[in-house]
Symmetry: C2
Subunit: 454 residues, 2 copies
C-alpha cells in the first residue's frame, strides 16, 4: 500500500490532474492520494493559496470580497470544466468558501488559516469527484472526520500521537482515499495549518499512520540533484539516499523536501520516493533508512550562505569548567540558535545564521561576554558560507577530508572552518561568501566528475 502526495504544480490544472489519475490508476497499491492546492500553471501565475490569502485579507477589511472569492472559484471552475465535471462540485466549493469568509475574525491567524486551508480541502473534494467520474472509486476524507488532531496555539501545529491511531483506520477503505494536505484540527475542532511544505507533512503523517510500504512524493523534477543546478552545470541525479543524508543536505540549499516532513516516515522506517508527475517512468530519488554502499563516497554537496561567526578568546580558557556552557547560555537568552562551535585551547567560535543578529544584539552579546566571562577578545565576523559534503559512511573513508580540502585549496580560497567528527555522514567547511560558488564547483568535479590524469 502506497501513499502518494501530489504537489501544487502536479494539480495546477485539468491536464495535470489527468496525469495524476493516470499515475494512480497505473498502480493499484496507490490507495492514498494526498493533494496540495492548485499551484502555478506558468511562471507569472498565482497559486490558489496566494489567491486565498488575498481573499482572507479582503474579508478582514470587508472590501472586494466577492471579486477575490470569484478569482478562487474560477480556478476550480476551469479545472472542473477541463475534467468534464458538472457544476455541482463548483457550487460546493463556492458555498464552502463563502461560509469561511463569514467565520469569526477575532483571531486573525486562525481566520486566515481556515481560508488558506480551503485550497487543499476543496481540491481534494474536486479530485475525488473526478476519480469517481472516470471509474476510479474514490472518497474525499476530511482531516477532522479522520481525526488528524494537532496541538493548540501558541505552539506551531504538530500532529498529536493519537492522530496516527485515528488515521490508521483509513486502511480499511475499499475506495481510493483523497486527503487534503496542509492542515489538521485541534481537539476543540479549530483548524490549524502546518508550516510551509505542509502538504508534505500531511502525506508523511498519513503514510506513517497507515504503515504504507512507500511514501511517494510527486513533484515537477525527475529526481534530487547532488548539487545545486544553478551553480553546477548538469549535476548528477541521486538514485538512492538515506534519511540522514537528505537531512544534512537539506541544511544548505536543498529545498526539495521540508526536513520536518520526513520525521513521521523516518520514525516508522517507511521509504520515500521523490518522483516527477510529468515523467512518472523516471525512477526518481528514493529516501531510505539504509542503503548499500556504492562506488561514490559522496552522495551530495550543498552550500548555503548568510552565516556569522562570534569569536571569543581568553588565556587558559580550557581550564575553566563551564566557560562554553555559559557562552551558549548568553546566546540562548538572546534567542539565538547556533550551528557549530569549533574551539582551540584558549578560544571558541560560534557559527550562527546571520539573520538572527542585529547591531544592538551584537553589542549586547559582546558586552556580556566581556563582562561576565572576562574574555580578552570578542568580536563578530560576517558573510560566511557553509559547504557540506554528505555521504553515508564517509567518516570511515580514509583520505576523503584530504581530497575535499585539497579541492578547496585548488580554488585559492582559504578554509575558515572545518567541522568533522560528529556526523557520520557529513563534513562541513566554513568559507567566505565570495568563494562559495567556485568551491562548490571544484568539490563537485572532485567527487562526481573525476578528471582522468593522462
Amino acid at each position: 500500500m502506497k501513499v502518494s502526495k501530489f504537489g501544487g504544480t502536479s494539480v495546477a490544472n485539468a491536464e495535470q490532474i489527468k496525469k495524476v489519475a493516470a499515475i494512480v490508476k497505473a498502480d493499484p497499491t496507490r490507495k492514498f492520494v494526498v493533494v496540495s492546492a492548485p499551484g502555478k500553471r506558468f511562471d507569472a501565475d498565482k497559486k490558489v493559496t496566494d489567491l486565498l490569502i488575498e481573499l482572507a485579507n479582503a474579508a478582514l477589511h470587508t472590501e472586494n470580497v466577492e471579486e477575490k472569492l470569484q478569482n478562487v472559484v474560477n480556478r476550480y471552475r476551469e479545472i472542473a470544466e477541463g475534467l468534464g465535471l458538472d457544476q455541482t462540485i463548483c457550487d460546493v466549493i463556492e458555498k464552502d468558501l463563502r461560509t469561511r469568509t463569514l467565520e469569526n475574525k477575532s483571531n486573525v491567524e486562525l481566520f486566515v488559516d481556515n481560508i488558506k486551508a480551503s485550497g487543499e480541502d476543496n481540491n481534494a473534494k474536486l479530485i475525488s469527484t473526478y476519480f469517481t467520474s472516470i471509474g476510479m472509486p474514490a472518497q474525499y476524507v476530511n482531516p477532522k472526520t479522520a481525526g488528524l488532531v494537532v496541538n493548540d496555539l501558541p505552539e506551531r501545529a504538530q500532529a498529536l500521537p493519537e492522530a496516527y491511531d485515528n488515521l490508521s483506520t483509513l486502511r480499511n477503505s475499499s475506495e481510493i482515499i483523497v486527503f487534503p494536505g496542509f492542515f489538521g484540527y485541534t481537539k476543540d475542532g479549530v483548524l490549524r495549518t502546518f508550516e510551509r511544505g505542509g502538504s508534505d507533512i500531511t502525506g508523511s503523517i498519513v503514510a506513517a499512520a497507515v504503515q504504507a510500504e512507500l511514501y511517494e512524493n510527486f513533484t515537477d523534477v525527475d529526481s534530487v540533484f547532488c548539487a545545486n543546478p544553478r551553480v553546477v552545470n548538469s549535476p548528477a541525479e541521486i538514485e538512492e539516499i538515506t534519511y540522514r543524508e537528505m537531512r544534512e543536505l537539506s541544511y544548505a540549499g536543498f529545498s526539495v523536501f521540508h526536513d520536518e516532513a520526513l520525521m513521521p516516515v523516518y520514525k516508522s522506517g517507511i521509504p520515500v520516493c521523490i518522483k516527477n508527475t510529468n515523467n512518472p517512468s523516471a525512477p526518481g530519488t528514493k529516501i531510505v533508512a539504509e542503503r548499500k554502499a556504492n562506488r561514490r563516497p559522496v552522495t551530495g554537496i550543498s552550500a548555503d550562505n548568510g552565516f556569522s561567526i562570534l569569536y571569543v578568546s581568553k588565556y587558559l580558557m580550557n581550564r575553566e569548567i563551564g566557560f562554553g556552557r555559559k557562552l551558549l547560555q548568553i546566546l540562548e537568552e538572546e534567542h539565538i540558535s547556533y550551528e557549530h562551535t569549533p574551539s582551540g585551547l584558549d578560544d571558541i567560535s560560534v557559527i550562527m545564521r546571520s539573520h538572527q543578529l542585529t547591531p544592538e544584539k551584537e553589542v549586547r552579546i559582546i558586552d556580556r561576554v566581556l563582562n561576565e566571562l572576562h574574555a580578552e577578545d570578542v568580536h563578530f565576523r560576517h558573510e560566511f558560507s557553509m559547504i557540506v559534503v554528505v555521504g553515508e559512511g564517509m567518516n570511515n573513508s580514509t583520505g576523503l577530508a584530504a581530497r575535499a580540502a585539497t579541492a578547496i585549496s585548488r580554488t585559492g580560497a582559504n578554509i575558515e572552518m572545518i567541522n568533522q567528527g560528529s556526523s557520520e555522514v557529513s563534513l562541513a567547511f566554513g568559507v567566505h561568501r565570495s568563494n562559495e560558488d567556485k568551491i562548490l564547483r571544484e568539490l563537485y568535479s572532485e567527487f562526481f566528475a573525476p578528471v582522468t590524469v593522462g
Copy 2:
C-alpha cells in the same frame, strides 16, 4: 634586567651550581636568580624534593626522622663541600629542617608543604652564600619577607595582585637576588606551594613584578623541539615561538613549560627564553608575544592520547535552541571539562580527557542525556589521540589543512575529527590511539622535512 630561573638538574650538585655562577657572572643584567631544589644527578638518583617527602612522612609517623633528615642534609653538605663553603651553611640548613619537622601537624597538607618547600628555600640560601664567596655579592630573599602573598586554602595557591607590588621593590637591590621557587605565604603567614612546575611560576611572577626585560628559564635541553623526539627522529629546534603557539603545543605532549607559569609574563608581555645550563651559548628557544613570519607555516606538532568521545544524536537536533547548552550542563554537573564539540545537524560529539570518566559516570551521563534531552543515540568511545598542528597565522594559509589531511591519509589512518576555525594558531585532528605515532611522523615530514619529488 633579567630574571633567570634554574631548574632542578641545573642546581643538582656543586659542578652544576658552578655553571650557574658562570652564567650569572657572564651577564651583569642577570640580577634575579630563582632556584629549584637540587634535582637528580643521575637517572636513578632521588631529587631532594623526594627526600623531603620521605622526611615529612617519617615526621608524621615519628619514625626514622633523624635518618631521613640526614639524607637531606647530606645532599647539601656534599654540594657545600664541592663549592668550598664551610660548615656554617649546612648548620643553618640542618637547624631549619629540624624546626620544620617540629611544626604543627594538624593540617597534614600544610605540614608537608612546609617541609617540601625547604628544598628550594635552603638551596637559595646555599647558592647566595656561594655567589658571595666567589666575589658575586648576592642576597637570599625569603618570599615571606619579600611579600609573595598567595590566597588561602582550599583554592590552589595563586599569587595575589599585591604580591606584584611587594616584589617590585626588589628592583632596588644592588646585589644579586637569589629567590627560592615553588612557594609563597598567605596573608596569615602560612606557607603554601604552587602546583608542579612551581619554580617556573615563581620565576614568572618575579619577572612580571620587577618588569624584567627577559625571563630566562634554564633547564637541561638546548631548546624546545618542534615535535616529540621520542617519536620523531631528531626533530628540528624551535628558535622563536609565540605565547599562543607555546600554549597550544603544551596541550599535548610538550611538557617543557607549565602553561600556567606563562600567565604572569604573558600578561606583562615579557619574553621568555628557554636555555640550557649545560650549553649556555646555544641560543635556546624564545617565547614572545609576536614574531615575524618565517618560511614555515607550522611551528610545532604535538600529540597526546587518553581522549574519549561522547556521541549524541537526535533527529532535528539543530532546531532545538539550548540542546548543546543542556548537554554541556550535564557534563559540568559531573565535573567534566571538555576539549572540543564538533557537531552535525542532528548530532554532536564531546571530546574529553578519559581520566575524568568512570564506568558509573558514563552510565549516569548516558541515562541523563537519554531521559532529559530525549536523544536517540548516546554512547562513549575511547582510546583517541589528539594531534595539534600549531603555527601563527596558519588560519590564513591556503592549503595547509589540505596538506595536513593528505599527509594523514598517506598513513592509511582514518581522521575521526577535524577542528579548525577558532584558534588562529592551531588545527586539531582526532585519530585513533593506535595511529598516533605514525601520523605524527608523517605530519613532521610533511611540514619540516619536505621530500623533493624527482
